[in-house]
């Protein structure tokens, strides 16, 4: 087999991009285990016998409610994720499968949602949450994230649902399967690769978001992990050990979820359905 120059170029580009993407994470990981002096003296060096320390982690666990923040973030992310995927898939199914009045208008309206950044509405969202008595609750965050994630989810899932052969639904209808059952027993399993894609795309920004936790739930023990990290970044002194340690801890669950979903990203499940 000969290797074409085009393929080499593609690989070089991909490798460079991988380095670019993984570099910062790698830096966070190695520096989280180094003394403050070593972080500044040799930021690119690996921790060795002299510079090795876990003081950052100790301080994170001692000085902050890290477990609670972590739990808050996890709750917000997972609940948002489940709602986005579930509502998104149902809406996508309805918009692609059923022809009804206002179908196109609704699709367009949702497409606009992808283009307009939700942060533009921060002030009115805050005002609304105050009126609803939802400030400093995780519910406020979940609501906002669901709204933010839905348009793209519906678009992606709709595309995938359209690719499911129409005959499958018709076959199920002839079999006497209810529309709900068709959705849950046939459509959902078949779009699981798309769901994994949507989950990954939705999860990362939600987990990493600082903006909405800061304005909607900054207190009352409802802080998310990104807010928790902030407390180590001071105006005058920044506890880099603690910041890097908490960031390291914050990466872990995203990574775990990513690995979980990525199993489905690659393979298509519809093989063998038709023809």
């Amino acid at each position: 087999m000969t290797i074409r120059p085009g393929r080499i170029a593609v690989h070089i580009a991909l490798i460079l991009y991988t380095i670019l993407a993984l570099g910062p994470i790698f830096l966070i990981l190695i520096n989280a285990f180094k003394t403050r002096r070593a972080i500044f003296a040799d930021p690119l060096g690996l921790p060795n016998g002299q510079t090795w320390t876990t003081i950052g982690f100790d301080r994170v666990f001692a000085n902050s409610d890290f477990g609670l923040y972590f739990f808050n973030s996890l709750t917000v992310t997972i609940v948002s994720l489940v709602l986005i995927v579930l509502i998104g898939a149902m809406a996508a199914w309805a918009l692609t499968e059923y022809r009804f009045r206002g179908n196109t208008i609704l699709s367009l309206y949702l497409a606009i949602g992808i283009m307009v950044p939700i942060r533009l509405g921060s002030v009115s969202i805050l005002r609304m949450m105050v009126e609803l008595n939802l400030v400093n609750t995780l519910t406020a965050l979940i609501l906002v994230y669901v709204a933010q994630g839905l348009p793209l989810a519906i678009l992606i899932l709709g595309e995938f649902i359209q690719q499911i052969p129409k005959d499958l639904r018709d076959a199920a209808r002839c079999d006497g399967v209810s529309e709900y059952r068709i959705f849950f027993s046939i459509i959902l399993p078949l779009i699981s690769p798309a769901i994994a894609t949507v989950a990954v795309f939705t999860m990362v920004p939600v987990w990493n978001d600082l903006w909405f936790p800061l304005i909607l739930a900054p207190g009352d023990g409802k802080q998310t992990i990104t807010l928790g990290v902030q407390q180590f970044i001071g105006q005058y002194v920044t506890d880099w050990n603690a910041v890097l340690a908490s960031l390291t801890l914050a990466i872990a669950p995203v990574l775990a979820l990513y690995l979980l979903f990525s199993r489905y990203l690659v393979r298509g499940l519809t093989a063998g359905a038709v023809k």
């Binding site: 005959d167 018709d170 076959a171 002839c174 006497g176 209810s178 359905a273």
Partner: protein, 363 residues
């Protein structure tokens, strides 16, 4: 078991008329084949009977009950799709049992039915496989099995063989015919392949542009096509059409001139008058039958195809008409030479200017 009848069924998508005024009755236990070119509405008609499409007008009755408003599941039908439409994430057993779960069938009964269907279709060793692990023929059998377990009154097949290769198609065709004999159920089958239609059907419905052109037993359609469309559609290679003119007419006895020759035969009285333009149809396999009352057609040979058991001679008549002759056995004709075909008068089909057959009804 049940009969199916359609009364004035019409369907349009927006301004486009797909089907208009379809009237048809399918008797209990009959094997009816809808055949026609693509886009003629045959699949739509099947989907209307299944309940997957609504009608714009008319009435559908299954087992003498109006079913227009019933969902597919309540019509006692089962459908086999062209694409098989197997649930890809379920194994063969679950594919067949899936529908029964919602029909409130008792679990043991469902299991018995699935195993029985698997037995009939020789699927027993494959019950644990996923559809992607099956060959095309096996997938098709699973799709048929899924229909059988529902124990339907009417089976609907939507071009079930068109994704199979030629050898498998013949096999599966025979299996479907056998299935029909064994189950005795009413079956409606859609295809664009006239060989399938001829071999399987007890009754063929020829559709064209949303209308029924003719309904009849396979040989009836072959022997006395009602119009040019059916004449051209049934039979392979297709019927030769030659322009002609009525020379003389005395009651039902007319003489028609075509391709430099003439033939005298009986038509429906008063259906044509002297001077009328007509189309003369001759099936390629009748071009060489000869016999006592026959007409000779001479032309230059364009091409010759030898198939061993027969030969196709493509020739151009002096009148400019291109015709195909199917001569039995091998032929010595070569391209560029001349060829004379001997057509018996009784093999002629005569169509008037509107394309309708003017031959007397043979039934």
């Amino acid at each position: 078991m049940a009969d199916v009848s359609l009364h004035g069924v019409a369907k349009s998508f927006g301004a486009t008329e797909i089907l208009r005024d379809i009237n048809l009755s399918v008797d209990d236990g009959e094997f009816v084949v809808f055949v026609g070119p693509s886009g003629c509405g045959k699949s739509t008609l099947l989907r209307i009977i299944a309940g997957l499409e609504s009608v714009s007008g008319g009435e559908i009755r299954i087992d003498k009950k109006r079913v227009n408003e019933l969902p597919p599941a309540d019509r006692k039908i089962a459908m086999v799709f062209q694409s098989y439409a197997l649930y890809p994430h379920m194994n063969v057993y679950k594919n067949m049992a899936f529908g029964l779960k919602f029909a409130k069938t008792h679990k043991a009964e469902a299991d018995r039915r699935v195993r029985q269907a698997a037995e009939i279709l020789k699927l027993t060793p494959l019950l644990d496989r996923k559809p992607r692990e099956l060959s095309g023929g096996q997938r098709q059998r699973v799709a048929i099995g899924r229909a059988i377990v529902r124990n339907p009154s009417v089976f609907l097949f939507d071009e079930p063989l068109s994704n199979l290769d030629a050898a498998l198609r013949v096999n599966t065709r025979l299996e479907i015919a056998k299935l029909h004999r064994d189950l005795g159920a009413t079956m409606i089958y859609v295809t664009h392949d006239q060989v399938e239609a001829m071999t399987l059907a007890s009754k063929i419905v020829v559709l064209n542009q949303g209308r029924i052109e003719q309904v009849g037993a396979p040989l009836e359609l072959y022997r006395s096509p009602r119009n040019l469309f059916v004449a051209g559609f049934i039979g392979s290679p297709r019927m030769n059409f030659i322009k002609g003119q009525v020379l003389r007419a005395e009651g039902s006895n007319v003489t028609i001139g075509f391709a430099g020759t003439e033939a005298t035969l009986d038509v429906r009285p008063g259906s044509v008058n002297p001077g009328d333009h007509v189309t003369v149809g001759i099936r390629p396999e009748h071009m060489e039958a000869g016999g006592a009352e026959s007409t000779s057609l001479r032309g230059t040979i364009d091409a010759v195809e030898q198939l061993g058991e027969s030969s196709y001679v493509y020739m151009r008549l002096a009148s400019g008409d291109d015709v195909i002759v199917r001569a039995p056995g091998e032929t010595e004709a070569t391209p560029g030479g001349t060829y004379t075909a001997h057509v018996p008068t009784r093999a002629l089909h005569i169509f008037d200017a509107a394309g309708l057959s003017v031959l007397p009804d043979q039934s």
